[in-house]
Subunit: 325 residues, 2 copies
């Protein structure tokens, strides 16, 4: 089978040449294990933090091994009675044609298109949902989302608008295609190197960017603003921990700043089920229209992943694998 | 009358030579104004942020004018029917022998010693109370207070212990006198240039220090830790906004970081009244034993204030004025 491996730890933003397409022996499932033909891979920025020699959120990814990442696929052989040939499953399949995992590490998915379970009906949708739940926006407030045109950000904007009327939405975009997209979903686009455009200040700030942008936006917070930290796209791969500098604003504005990780929320089964139902209904009636871009072939993951840190088409980036393993 | 004026904006920690004792004409109260003989001045670090040319939390303090600061005093003449000669009042009296203020800017105080209304029965006590209210410590948690031997910190430690059994308390101390003091009130002392001593991590962190200390302690947070920012003693007067660098910990530990200003809480009259009653009862029965140091004479404020940023005796620093205006 083909696999896309990590050739070296990227410096700063990952580049396609940090990865290498190789041929590996097909894996064989042991007792309790399931063999999955990978059909779609989810491109997510957070795994970047594990592409370094120092352990952060788990052990470093191994040089020369298939990149670790979330995907969906079809069961083609199973030593776990929970799964049968033909089942569609979600899990940490990795950037490879075939994956072997213990059944306990896989989730069966049903309905919709397979790739939707990586996007609006999967972890991306749940992340956006629980971000908005955590913020609890109120009418009349101004919400800044950064980045806004990406997979999670674009759903955060739409879910917030669906949930709370009279919300002013501002979001960062890179390039004209992202800006046009935001405009089309009712979000005022701004560049991440711009100053806060106003009018008025920021009540709610969903920040996946960090760095100097974070500091500048904190200076524009309204009193009692709420800030949710999702990641540090601007800082992945920098030496040392991601820094931010505007502590004075958190104190003087009596802001509340919190870190957000989806895993904390996924353990609350009733809340997850309620989210799934509401998201499915909104997708059905068109209230939420997820943007997604399918890239074709395992090799395309190198560029699609790198694009997350520079300039992607709007929405969720998904790699669809060729049918041959 | 005598006044202690700001001679220049301090660079870094204030020094006694940044202030100058001068002789000014006695002020005369106009319509609705009250003439107060200042008896005690409260030494607080926060006004330091206004001792710079750039406006922060209000306009810069004026060079050559009496330093602005909180105090208590005795009314000696009043054009406001609410106040009569002999009343003791609390307000922003300034570092001077006599102060004239509109009656609306003064609060009558009763009972206790006058200086206690600057300490445990006044804004210092309320600050400590609402800090603990905001944190809502639970039994078994570890609370780090920095600085811990100062006016607010020493009361935070005692109030937290009075409210919540089985709390592990750690606090920063400068020098042996502060360390001994903390030990005596059940707080494990540590130096602000030390690493987190453990065992275990930090659940609650009350931070008035900022800077590199803040960053190091964030690395020792437990998941879901709560951090309250009270100030930046380490950074007052540095160029630019106070910086802190460990945003990664806030995200990865899903910590909650909030800014705290007493003024937000003082508008909730029933909550303030409940705090006043409980604090008075704890002072009465010895549950809370406030530490305080009286400095004598207006001129001593220069050194007492400077000491807040370097090395003070434990507890609240109060300047008692000579009886002659």
């Amino acid at each position: 089978m083909k696999a896309l491996t990590l050739l070296r730890y990227p410096e700063g933003a990952p580049r396609p040449e940090d990865f290498e397409l190789v041929e590996l022996a097909d894996p064989v499932p042991g007792p309790g294990e399931v063999l999955v033909k990978v059909t779609h891979l989810s491109m997510d920025p957070l795994p970047r933090v594990r592409m370094q020699a120092k352990p952060v959120m788990g052990p470093p990814m191994r040089i020369g091994a298939p990149v670790e990442g979330r995907g969906v696929g079809r069961v083609i052989d199973s030593n776990d009675p929970t799964f049968a040939e033909g089942d569609m499953v979600l899990g940490e399949l990795g950037w490879q044609g075939l994956a072997v995992l213990p059944g306990a590490k896989l989730t069966k998915v049903r309905g919709g298109q397979p790739h939707q379970h990586l996007g609006a009906l999967g972890p991306t949708g749940f992340a956006a949902w629980f971000v908005v739940e955590s913020l609890a926006p109120r009418g009349g407030e101004t919400l800044l989302v950064a980045p806004a045109a990406g997979a999670v950000g674009s759903l955060v904007c739409q879910i917030a608008a669906a949930r709370t009327a009279d919300l002013q939405l501002v979001g960062t975009a890179i390039g004209a295609e992202q800006a046009d997209y935001l405009d089309g979903i009712g979000v005022t686009p701004m560049a991440a190197d711009a100053d806060w455009p106003g009018p008025g200040g920021i009540d709610l700030f969903v920040d996946g960017v960090g760095g100097a942008f974070h500091d500048r936006m904190l200076a524009a917070l309204n009193p009692r603003a709420r800030v949710l930290l999702l990641g540090f796209v601007s800082a992945y791969g920098e030496e040392g921990p991601p820094r931010y500098g505007n502590a004075g604003a958190v104190l003087l504005k009596r802001a509340r700043m919190e870190g957000f990780l989806l895993a904390d929320h996924m353990t609350d089964t009733p809340a997850v089920e309620a989210a799934r139902k509401q998201l499915a209904a909104w997708l059905e009636d068109g209230t939420v229209r997820p943007a997604e871009r399918l890239h074709h072939g395992l090799a395309s993951a190198a560029a699609a992943f790198s694009g997350l840190f520079t300039h992607s088409p709007p929405g969720k980036q998904i790699v669809e694998l060729e049918d041959k393993a």
